[in-house]
């Protein structure tokens, strides 16, 4: 792989950009791999990358039914934060946030990580107490957050109306090293690095069956033929239920649509990420100037990547009250992704009833921010059979009642 650098840009400028390589190869599948990862989204590619980098397992295929990064990786609102209440969540999200800081250098690919700061508004007394509690928990967990008052909120984000008639801003949980990153670039950067290590990324190849023998996975059937493997990792987000059905086990997951939208680009007016969980909306400004807006998930099962219009209306209505400046903005694009929700709104990174099959799913509405940490933990789990990062997130927590209850702890929006 030729490295990207200022020198490379100068070199290519002098020869009509004829020397750029393809970022990753598109090989035909081999007969057999040590590890097959199903799903070339952020989490799948990160898992493959850390398998290679941390454990030297490089005979790996990442299989994708569409194109890489074309699912939820390319459909989120790109927010990165780690201010969770529960210890296992804070650990894995903080690991991810820490890895994001150096990911561009690590991958030699500019993922445009922008630690601009994330604030979660407290708009009721209940939320004030909740976020103060989270700030204390974060201090114990080693996650840098702070509870700030309304004046500091106004200072950090002048376009906000903090005296809203219905939900005035009473303060915020502020994580100065949270922020955003370019979501596609995260997938592309990992894909390029995986390909460089000799891994095969096989796109437009849908898995149609999981072949088993004696309680073990021996391979997968795909639209490009059967492929054998020693270990299988299932990292398919919204379609986890479909894959689990093929493999013959059940999951505590329901797939629902979550939507986001962006406005027409405007001049820079907001250099932080704001989340308002009571009124249910969150917003940041992209480098292009678009306001990136996300809201609530639908309440019913759906695989269509289209959501309900009334959720968009609710989200935008709430945000207009908090940010009167956006009331005349036109919305440019609007899309939905299928997210996999677990009972406690925490992910599953776990062994499965099949001995050599591992699953990474259930990230629900908060997967993008976790990509590097999730890949790191999942790779360790697949290589060594256990990982301190994923310990709490095993499948049997539902049977044993060891929930990591972020649905109650962290409010609603992710």
């Amino acid at each position: 792989m030729k490295r990207y650098s200022a020198f490379a840009v100068a070199r290519e400028a002098l020869r009509f950009h004829s020397g750029w390589e393809r970022a990753w190869r598109s090989p035909a599948p081999k007969k057999k791999y040590d590890v097959i990862i199903i799903g070339a989204g952020g989490h799948g590619l990160a898992t493959a990358y850390y398998l290679g980098r941390n454990f030297g397992i490089r005979n790996v295929a990442v299989i994708e039914k569409g194109w890489l990064g074309g699912g939820n990786t390319g459909r989120n609102t790109t927010i990165i934060r780690s201010n969770y209440l529960q210890d296992p969540s804070a650990a894995i999200y903080e690991k991810a946030r820490g890895l994001y800081e150096n990911l561009s250098q690590d991958l030699n690919y500019n993922i445009m990580f922008s630690p601009r700061g994330v604030m979660m508004l407290a708009q009721t007394q209940h939320e004030v107490r909740g976020y103060q509690r989270t700030a204390h928990a974060n201090a114990l967990q080693g996650v840098t957050t702070e509870f700030i008052g309304p004046q500091k909120v106004k200072e950090l984000c002048p376009i906000m109306n903090i005296d809203g008639p219905r939900y005035p801003v009473l303060g915020a949980l502020w994580q100065p090293r949270g922020g955003t990153a370019r979501h596609d670039a995260v997938a592309w950067g990992y894909a390029r690095a995986c390909s460089d290590m000799g891994m095969d990324i096989i796109q437009k190849c849908e898995v149609t069956g999981v072949r088993q023998s004696g309680g073990k996975v021996v391979g997968v059937d795909t639209t490009k033929g059967a492929i054998d493997c020693d270990k299988l990792g299932v990292v398919v987000a919204g379609h986890s239920g479909v894959l689990a059905d093929m493999a013959g086990f059940r999951l505590p997951i329901e797939s629902v649509a979550l939507q986001a939208l962006v406005s027409e680009p405007i001049k820079p007016c907001m250099d932080v990420v704001v989340m308002a969980n009571t009124v249910h909306g969150y917003m940041s400004q992209s480098d292009k100037g678009e306001m990136v807006i996300g809201g609530g998930a639908d309440g019913y099962n759906n695989y269509t990547q289209r959501g309900s219009f009334h959720h968009v209306e609710e989200t935008v209505r709430a945000l207009v009250e908090t940010f009167p400046i956006i009331s005349r903005l036109k919305m440019l694009r609007w899309w939905g992704g299928i997210v996999d929700m677990t009972g406690d709104r925490s992910p599953i990174l776990s062994k499965t009833p099949l001995e050599n099959c591992f699953i990474n799913c259930g990230w629900g509405t908060g997967g993008f921010k976790a990509i590097p940490g999730s890949g790191w933990g999942m790779a360790e789990l697949m290589a060594k059979g256990h990982s301190p990062l994923t310990e709490g997130f095993s499948l049997d927590r539902f049977k044993e009642g060891r929930f990591i209850d972020e649905s109650v702890a962290a409010g609603v929006a992710h």
Binding site: D245, P252, Y300, N301, T304, F309, F398, K399
Partner: protein, 109 residues
């Protein structure tokens, strides 16, 4: 926009009038059941890509709970029926079979 016919009051209710209530026909387990049964009842879900049976409440209407048969892949509604049913009426099962030959959903298909 999702429109479901409430089998009690007969109104064609749209989404904002309704509250989703999750999977229908769950088998409820009581005292003395095994951990696995409780896990099944409380957490494990069918989550099919295709034919699905759900509970809905006509919240901003007559307030009653009912069941709906729906396709999660196309958002097509096959029919709605009363909540006091152990399985979907034969007419709805037939309507589904006509449009989705070979469909299955746990014990009835």
């Amino acid at each position: 926009m999702l429109i479901l016919n409430c089998p009690y009051c007969g109104v064609d209710a749209e989404e904002t009038e309704l509250s989703p209530g999750g999977e229908a026909h769950l088998k409820r387990y009581g005292p003395g059941s095994s951990d696995a049964d409780f896990e099944d009842y409380l957490f494990q879900r069918e989550n099919p890509k295709g034919v699905h049976f759900e509970r809905w409440r006509h919240a901003n209407g007559c307030g009653k709970w009912f069941h709906a048969a729906r396709c999660t892949m196309t958002l097509e509604v096959f029919g709605t029926y009363e909540a006091q049913s152990l399985e979907p009426p034969k007419s709805i099962q037939k309507a589904i079979s006509k449009k989705r030959p070979g469909w299955s959903w746990r014990e009835f298909s």
